[in-house]
Amino acid sequence: MVSSPAERVSVRKTYKLFIGGAFPRSESGRSYVVDDTNVALASRKDVRDAVLAARAAFRPWSAATAYNRGQILYRIAEMLEGRRAQFLAFGLDDATVDASIDRWVWYAGWADKLAQVYGSANPVAGPYFNLSGPEPTGVVGIVAPPDSPLLGLVSVVAPAIVSGNTVVVLASEPSPLPAITLAEVLATSDLPGGVVNLLTGRVPETGPWLASHMDVNAIDLTGVDDPALATSLEQAAAENLKRVVRPPAEPVDWTVDPGIARMTPFLEVKTVWHPKGV
């Protein structure tokens, strides 16, 4: 006897964290409810584990060729294109999903151009070859925009990783489901595990652990709505002189051309001097 479609019991999806390329539950075993769905509630130990995964992934990801990173970001766009329906099902509109896919494509093309646009050959007054080139800063903590759970998320993650950084992202607290679904896209895109780590949960709880972590090199506070929290996170970040991107002064229109302004805060400029002689 076959059950009729109206009676079929669905297999519900469990939304877990994304750390080191895998989908673990929170080590705390906790969850919170969003749209009748249980979503993992990340703890400070999850933050710790995510930073470890990001640090381990940093060396190989930054050592990959720019071409390779570009191809992977493009693959992410391909996979996202194939999964449009899932994101539309969260209530996001076509334009938003389109823009998110296109944003991956746009950043994919930056991988092998950043050094040319942001580097320089410097005409020093002496017999030296002097070259400045951008390098990724390391592990970047990101607080994703709460109100733009896909396009805003992509717009803060892609520019950080295209140059070779690895990231630990605190997803939108009210709308975490697109973030975890995006993680599934990333997991099938040849993106090495640990390059992007995604934690769902309460930003006031996990944020301070990320902002004060001494093995995190930079922190993007774009998604922090509460000015007092933003200030305290920035202060915590000062302990190891993290590079800080503050929350925007005005609400951001994520559809606008971002320029290079979201890539440069996570780049270090290294200048090398070589004497020229026989």
Binding site: G126, P127, Y128, P275, K276, G277, V278
Partner: protein
């Protein structure tokens, strides 16, 4: 290391391996070190002392096709008594001339303490059969030269035939008898500081008493950085073997200021042990008059003029 060195020159292969294994010289770094030492300010008593020392280090030189006995006699007189108006002025270290002129100069310098240096070995090119070069040397020594300035075989060096270069120096040293041997590297043709370092070691391994930068017939001749590299080589050679070798920059050193810069270079690279005519010489001609002028200025307090010094 002393025990190692005789084996180094026992074969072309080991000689090559040794020379190519010496530390390289970074051109920019070496030139900057020399330039920095050239900013030393040598004044008053230090300057007086340096000028007198420089005069005593001059190998007063004439090496022209047009040299005649008359010319050489005039220069020999100058070598003995550089300042016609001042007996306190010291004599120079040596007179440096072609072998054909040695018989003219020898009787004039005998017993004066001024050495008689002769170039030899088909100076300046060295492009002649070895037998001719050895005869050239022997003739100069027989005529009375007590110092020989030879040229190395640059063609052989640049072609990597280090063993041949070595053997020729050894042979010339043999022909010198009691005369001391200066080996001219012709640094302008060696072109790189790495080559200058290698050629310096090669000459010292073969028995040179002095290593000399240039014939003066090729540009660039002596420069501060080239001399720096050679001084480093003699320093390291003495550390390795216990034997001290002298250094002679020649050609292009025209002013007292230049000469003093070389003395500073010696002072701060190899130290006091080399600050004497036994271990450091200037191959020069016009330098002497400038030294005399500066010496006179320091003694009298006012600037002098060329009319007060002899043009020989």
């Amino acid at each position: 290391m002393t025990a190692v060195l005789p084996e180094v020159s026992s074969s072309g292969t080991s000689l090559r391996a040794f020379l190519h294994g010496l530390p390289g010289v970074d051109q920019v770094g070496a030139e900057q070190r020399a330039a920095m030492l050239a900013t030393r300010s040598i004044k008053t008593t230090a300057k007086e002392w340096a000028i007198d020392l420089a005069i005593r280090m001059v190998d007063l030189t004439t090496l022209e096709g047009s040299d005649t006995p008359g010319k050489v006699r005039a220069l020999a007189a100058k070598a003995k008594r550089p300042d016609p108006a001042d007996d306190s002025c010291p004599a120079v270290a040596a007179l440096c001339i072609y072998p054909a002129m040695v018989p003219v100069a020898a009787p004039l310098l005998a017993g004066t303490g001024v050495h008689l240096a002769s170039v030899a070995t088909a100076f300046p090119s060295g492009q002649a059969p070895l037998s001719v070069k050895l005869d050239d040397t022997a003739a100069a020594v027989a005529a009375g030269a007590d110092e020989i300035d030879m040229v190395i075989n640059r063609g052989a060096f640049l072609a990597g035939r280090y063993q041949q270069v070595h053997e020729e120096i050894v042979a010339v040293k043999g022909a010198c008898g009691a005369a001391h041997l200066k080996v001219i590297l012709e640094t302008g043709e060696l072109a790189t500081y790495d080559n200058v370092r290698r050629a310096s070691w090669l000459a010292m391994l073969a028995g040179a008493d002095f290593i000399k930068t240039s014939t003066g017939k090729v540009q660039p001749a002596a420069t501060l950085p080239v001399t720096l590299v050679m001084l480093e080589a003699v320093r390291d050679f003495r550390s390795a073997t216990g034997r001290q070798v002298g250094v002679k920059p020649a050609g292009g050193i025209r002013t007292s200021k230049d000469a003093i810069r070389y003395l500073v270079l010696v002072n701060e690279t190899v130290g006091t042990d080399w600050l004497s005519p036994d271990w450091f010489r200037f191959g020069a001609s016009t330098l002497l008059n400038d030294l005399l002028m500066q010496r006179t200025r320091m003694r009298t307090g006012h600037y002098s003029g060329p009319d007060y010094f002899t043009l020989d």
